[in-house]
């Protein structure tokens, strides 16, 4: 019996060992490198690197791209989830597939799509030029590319959840005379608020960190069209490693905050789902009594 016990324990320690070694080498070490290299020149150099004018402009542009794309994609996610889960219509699965399309398009190709449409030699190029509107190699291009890349995140979180929750609660509210908006605000939104926040957090992380697509449409104009990831690339290619890592540490902190909020929300969502299934399990008894 003791022999058998040892036999059944070795896979456990083996698995935990492999997991911890693999994840420390691949996940923890890179994170340490970012902060270690950032602080290599001392705290003053660090602060100087993240407060110099070009870095500050990159921070503002990154925040702006996220501030536009997160609300717009949240609005789209809500509309798409409502249309796709509360009604039955033809072409529903096609629409679902198309919403996922931006995930399948490589970032560089995504950026290129908008150069083809809106660039000087693009389809709308002459029209935009006549109106003196510059989109590609300017800030609007960066925002559009970010919108494309982060497009499916919110919709993807909401659709499965709202599908699972069904339509009964909303139908009850409407039949009792509530308006459509009131029903959404008081019935649907409280049911999906954590999933909505979850999708928005993922959308935000991707919006602030996007590199490939933004790189294509930005034109790399220093202090004008550089987001934080692009600013990191410039500093790194100039062999200004400490400054590159200092700016990178800002994005690494954003990633850590994202992870913390994400796991808190996952815990919350899991609990809510458990409570819900418990409710459903108890429901028949309640109707009997």
């Amino acid at each position: 019996m003791p022999g058998k016990k040892i036999l059944s324990l070795w896979p456990k320690y083996c698995c935990i060992g492999i997991t911890l070694v693999f994840l420390s080498l691949f996940l923890v070490l890179p994170l340490f490198i970012v902060f270690g290299e950032a602080l290599r020149g001392g705290i003053t150099t660090y602060l100087a690197a993240i407060t110099e004018p070009d870095a500050r402009k990159a921070i503002v542009l990154t925040l702006m791209a996220a501030a536009v794309s997160v609300p717009l994609n949240v609005l789209f996610g809500l509309a798409a989830a409502w249309a796709l889960t509360k009604f039955d219509f033809r072409g529903k699965s096609l629409l679902l597939t198309l919403i996922d399309l931006p995930f399948a398009v490589p970032p560089v190709i995504a950026g290129f799509l908008f150069v083809l449409c809106l660039g000087t030699n693009g389809v709308l190029g002459p029209l935009l030029e006549a109106a003196d509107i510059r989109i590609i190699f300017a800030i609007p291009g960066i925002i559009i590319a970010t919108l494309f890349i982060t497009f499916p995140f919110v919709a993807r979180e909401l659709i499965p959840l709202m599908q699972e929750q069904g339509r009964e609660e909303e139908q009850a509210a409407i039949s009792l005379g509530a308006s459509g908006f009131k029903t959404f605000w008081h019935i649907t939104l409280p049911n999906i608020k954590w999933a909505l926040l979850y999708g928005a957090i993922l959308c935000n992380a991707r919006a602030m960190g996007e590199f490939g697509a933004v790189s294509v449409v930005s034109g790399h104009i220093r202090g004008a069209t550089n987001t934080l990831p692009l600013h990191i690339e410039i500093l790194y290619n100039e062999y200004n490693f400490t400054a590159a890592f200092a700016v990178a540490s800002l994005l690494a902190m954003l990633a850590l905050v994202t992870l913390i909020v994400k796991s808190a929300l996952e815990w919350k969502l899991k609990r809510e789902r458990q409570l819900q299934s418990l409710d459903e399990a108890l429901l028949p008894e309640r109707t009997v009594s």
């Binding site: 970012v34 190709i109 494309f148 590199f211």
Partner: protein
């Protein structure tokens, strides 16, 4: 008429939300993709031939698809161990480790790119260990595989975890108590049940790796014919304003990746058909 419509859609807002969804989707995704499609059809065969016959293109495709396959394979193996450990053997701090698995997803690719390059360069903490053996990781094809492995890890683990949670240990215990060896129980009981999830995880990691740009450009060194990926080649064509060449490359890349993912889906479908009547 009004009554009829109401009966069909009891809840309000169908026209508004569907209209908005389709409009937004069309403006942001469908029309741009269609423009690429039109551009692709308007190109002459010569443009495609020039792109395909360029040895630099072939080398880039070989590296991109080869490294992505290698990374997805490594991820499937290690991702399985990680997911297994996290669901079956809760150890102190497993919650933190579980949250960390999503780091490659949350960390901007430019940041992971420069961090991995520093780590795996000849003087870096890990690269230093391999340098005496004559193995170069950063600025070599191996570096591309490292970056793509980092990027793809969460996809495999997050796909496997729910499948493993559903897998009742009773089945393997039954197999073990009936005299099967651990290895046999693993290969005949556990692995077949997890095959769909493993395949999905592999496909997701592969899809992500095929398009990855940010982390790779730093670690690969971008040497033509040796460490240049397709995305970088497209970028190069764009910088020279060779939009025709870029279109040809983009369309070929998209078609090849869709083909691979389609084949994986077919495989998935065959597996699920095979296992369903038995289960």
């Amino acid at each position: 008429m009004q009554l009829k419509r109401r009966r069909r859609h009891f809840l309000p807002g169908f026209g508004l939300t569907l209209g908005y969804t389709v409009l937004y989707l069309s403006l942001l995704v469908l029309i741009p993709v269609a423009v690429l499609g039109f551009k692709a059809f308007s190109l002459t065969g010569d443009v495609y031939w020039n792109v395909i016959s360029d040895p630099r293109t072939l080398a880039a495709f070989k590296l991109t698809f080869g490294a992505a396959l290698a990374a997805a394979t490594v991820n499937t193996l290690f991702g399985f161990v990680v997911a297994w450990t996290l669901t079956r053997y809760p150890f102190p701090g497993h919650r933190v480790v579980d949250a960390l698995v999503d780091l490659p997803f949350a960390l901007p690719t430019a940041v992971s790119g420069i961090a991995l390059t520093t780590l795996f360069a000849r003087t870096g903490l890990i690269g230093r260990l391999f340098a005496p053996l004559g193995i170069q990781i950063a600025f070599a094809p191996a570096g591309v595989i490292v970056a793509l492995t980092f990027i793809g890890l969460p996809f495999v683990v997050r796909t496997l975890q729910p499948a493993l949670e559903d897998l009742d240990p009773e089945y393997e215990e039954a197999a073990l108590s009936l005299g099967a060896s651990r290895l046999r129980a693993f290969f005949t009981v556990i692995l077949p049940t997890l095959r769909p999830a493993l395949l999905t995880g592999f496909a997701l990691a592969l899809a992500r790796a095929l398009g990855e740009y940010g982390s790779v450009v730093f670690i690969s060194g971008n040497m033509p014919m040796r460490t240049e990926i397709v995305s970088l080649l497209i970028m190069g064509k764009l910088e020279q304003f060779d939009y025709e060449g870029a279109t040809a490359l983009a369309v070929i890349t998209l078609l090849l990746s869709f083909l691979i993912l389609f084949m994986l889906n077919m495989l998935q479908w065959r597996f699920s058909r095979k296992t369903q009547p038995a289960g």
